[in-house]
Symmetry: D2
Subunit: 339 residues, 4 copies
């Protein structure tokens, strides 16, 4: 066995595309409780109160919802070079860009399924304005507790035609460690939960049953406690946020979940959990189809749309996620978003 | 043993006096998360999200902080008449007033220590405006989760020269049940915890060591869980709310507490607990001085100011509560508050 | 409007029948964390750590599962007499019995659906043995935290052919207050949530779709926090307790729930909540069929068996509740239980 | 700047010395809820429900309390070799031992303060017996919830004469990252919080004001939620476990704490928190003496004994920690512990 790769530190941010930029922005500010750190032409940069960088969510106006890109921060300049060289050898590299708000030069590439990704090293640390200065100097920002008050981006879950190919790419080129996976009785791999740290999952691939490419399953944001997650459900209920899956506990990776749709049609999750993987030679947990059919940890059946809906939607149905009939999401893009 | 009196239902609201009306209002709205239901000349009427009446806190501009009055709702018109007759016989009655915002005619009186109190029966039920309409019809108001997001007024704690006299008045004239008390080794009674319901305390008297009259120890507002109370402390820390006593658990009545000073100088509490008294012939728990000296439930020593500070302050010191030096509370009344 | 009746205090205990007494006993001790207070010929008397009386659950060996009886404590001897006189007038009285372990003379009667009930006044207060003596004198028993560690009996939910008739009996003869109900679009009443206190529900009737009589829907036991309820689900998962409905939040009465089957086949609930009704003239919340079809508070669909299963089972199917296939409940009564 | 060292994964276990082995064992089993995995001549090996290795606590009979040793697992065989070579060069190496229960060859050394430490690579994964087999295959052990039900060893806090020297050794030879430290106004370094992972602290040095060597401040064990920590305090209260510091929140590293003394006299902590450090170039947070004088996060003053007591005790006073007078800890070693 070759040694572990320790070149990448964590997903620094994800870019989410939305056809309803004004409403999506309002959602992330009021319901998820994020702060606007900066605005550019067609993007707004948002942060959780625990993000040490300037932002973890870049929200960008687009014709269709989905993932714009995700960006992973390296452990050092040398580590970045090593990973770039490896990706170039893999043939999936696209080349360097100058960087973006809050970070330096980034190397662009795609995973085998075509999701745009970047690696970078240089990053600005967040400097809070006076109104967001915290009382204790070891947190980056004041805790204001608005809405679900998410702390930071926790994980990115991507749909893929070929889960195994993408999982191998993430392991071999990026150094992700595989913690859990679903392998059906016919040998097909339909899910892979991976991480760069002791956290139970930071990057997930699940099978895209529509056989489309480059689609997003969901972005997940962290809260510290299960109680905060229940409180988020209480808030979302009254705020008419469409809840796809009410709070419960995943069997895979043991995280608490709460899935909702943001107004652009993307699935987003409030998550928490302290299932840490300290074992340096962890043997991935493999779930069979039969095991997964038992539902989530406490027996809750996985909701159907969880297996069928992703963004952009390719179901050929009218625009928008499969939300409960009592909720309403605008079917058409609203006004453009200017800084 | 005579039968229980079941004529009074609960404390409907309390009036809090503040020399810093603008700042106090901002505190109750932003830090305690209450809503402004109405404004009058020198008062603002505030509510928690769970209050079924229009408000539970009347905040009134005044030269000095303290309790304006507290008002108890009867179980019925006849029950109100019975209590009024009893109070009149006791010689402590002051007579009827026409009522106030949100409730009908009220009978005014004072307890033996001189705290102004009222009894009333007719009350308006809260009708939320569109922006505060809840998703479920069995709660009065939408849960917005701002600040500590207190649910309702929970209890009133009054200082008294003679705890025993006030406790007996509350039991005999008002029908309060005595659940816990402190009786020192010398026989003096220094605390009484009473309730009209199964809740562990709704009205409390504790000894006023300054031998003043009519003073307030604190008002307490309820949150549903211990986690919400810890979250309130996190919020107050960053918002520079002066914390007198950090979250912990009372030995008496088993409630979780978090004590802070509002900008007018009054002590206010965020509380929670589910210590219910179902026993109709409950024998009051009597704590000795030695037992109380052991501190709170988990051994935390009761903070000194808890025994010495009340509003209005009579210590002769400069205006304001004994707050930590890093916090700042304005020493002078600010601008008058107009609706 | 006539005045409120305040003659009854709370449900003191319920008797649960089980064809698997040894296993049921083990369940309530190890999984629900109750203590054995006493044993008689075919019954074991069990208590939660917060019960002020000697027990709140009498577990009795029987051919079939279901409710043996439930017993309500009066506010006083005179109050008991008044209620007995009222029940006698109603024609549903059965007469006095000498009492049972822990309480004095009790008056037996049945509700219109035939559920055996009792009223009593004299009761013994629990005296803990040394090993269960608490540190603080205002709780009846040491908190040992075993299993779900339920605090006390919270509510009894009964199936009834005619919900309206039983609800009226409870209101008029017993003095229960009606807080919530389900009235379908065709005018039929299919659920009634009632209480003697500010607690959101203590006695519930729901329609028995099997048109049987005297059946039990479930007994519910209280824990203090939502976190304890989630923890109970974690424990039950590993202990192979059959979970009928995973933790979530009821729309009706806003309680958190976790429903499981005890080995005798009865549905039992772990519940918590602080939805209190302080309004003395509370107008019952009426839910329509369409509103109930929306599921529980956060959108979780009510599980089918919740509408069809009760004890004793009358479905004609094999013995036992409709549990998940991976769990196993013995189909035959096990050994008799002797003290 | 040289690159990060990623050779060590985490502290695998700590050995705690106790003069009261039977009572200490009972404490860790009943109060901390750990399982006995194995017993040897004078040691018992204990585990939390989340430990992936066979144990994280080795409890060993000894004349005096304190730390026996702590053992850190490497990321790989090669990584282990690199660290051993570095330690040998530092002159602090002691040489290889054959290993111990549950792990392979280990290299012994001491930190500059003389605390015995080991590095190892080969480790057995825990195989639960039938009674401890979990329902979900991604956790090592069934969750039984006994006592505080600690999940795993979280961090080790060591007293040191020269914090700076030990901190540098941990950084340079072992690859620990420094996240927070206390540097007094006179330039002296009195505390260092370090980690091998994103967890906020795994190894801590604080100044030994007694100027002794090789002493232990405390071992900390993790629970998943703040509610579990409050519940632990409730349990400890009734079980007469001496509580040194009631539940509250640390300013440094933001963890929730609950400090108690185990019967051998060692301080042990129940902790939780999700303050993660994702930044690969994290700038350590430096606290001044003035800042620390403000107390813990919510203003609670740090308890005096926290600065003065460690094990073994060198105060010259009678054996045992400075516990509240109402609690009792045996002053003399009890019976020897045999497997």
């Amino acid at each position: 066995m070759s040694e572990q790769i320790h070149d990448l530190a964590h997903i620094g941010h994800a870019e989410l595309l939305t056809p309803s930029p004004e409403q999506s922005l309002q959602f992330f500010v009021e319901q998820f409780g994020m702060e606007i750190e900066a605005q550019a032409e067609q993007s707004v940069f948002l942060r959780g109160w625990g993000d040490y960088q300037r932002y973890s969510l870049k929200l960008t106006e687009s014709q269709l919802p989905g993932l714009g890109h995700m960006a992973i921060r390296a452990w050092s300049a040398q580590a970045l070079e090593r990973r770039v060289a490896a990706i170039e050898r893999s043939g999936r590299g696209l080349g360097w860009i100058d960087g973006d708000l809050g970070h330096g030069p980034a190397y662009r590439f795609t995973d085998p399924d075509g999701h745009p990704m970047e690696l970078y090293w240089e990053a600005e640390r967040y400097q809070p304005p006076a109104r967001l200065r915290p009382a204790l100097k070891n947190v980056p920002q004041r805790y204001v507790g608005r809405g679900a008050a998410v702390k930071r981006l926790d994980h990115v879950n991507l749909l893929a035609r070929d889960v195994a190919a993408n999982r191998r790419f993430a392991q071999e080129q990026l150094g992700y460690r595989l913690y859990e996976q679903i392998v059906l009785e016919d040998g097909s791999e339909t899910g892979a939960w991976m991480s760069l740290t002791i956290a139970a999952h930071e990057l997930i691939y699940v099978a895209d049953h529509a056989h489309a490419s480059g689609r997003l399953h969901h972005l997940a944001f962290f809260v510290d406690t299960r109680e905060e997650l229940l409180r988020a459900a209480d808030l979302f209920l009254d705020a008419e946020v469409p809840i796809e899956a009410a709070p419960s506990k995943h069997a895979v990776a043991q995280g608490m979940f709460l899935y909702v749709y943001e107004p652009g049609g993307n699935r987003v999750e409030v998550t928490t959990g302290t299932h840490f993987i300290f074992d340096p030679e962890y043997q991935p947990v493999v779930w069979s189809g039969a095991e997964r059919a038992r539902g989530q940890a406490w027996g809750v059946k996985t909701i159907d749309t969880f297996h069928t809906y992703g963004t952009p939607d390719v179901s050929g149905k009218a625009t928008g996620p499969p939300i409960p009939p009592t909720s309403a999401i605008p079917a058409l893009p609203d006004q453009p978003l200017h800084a």
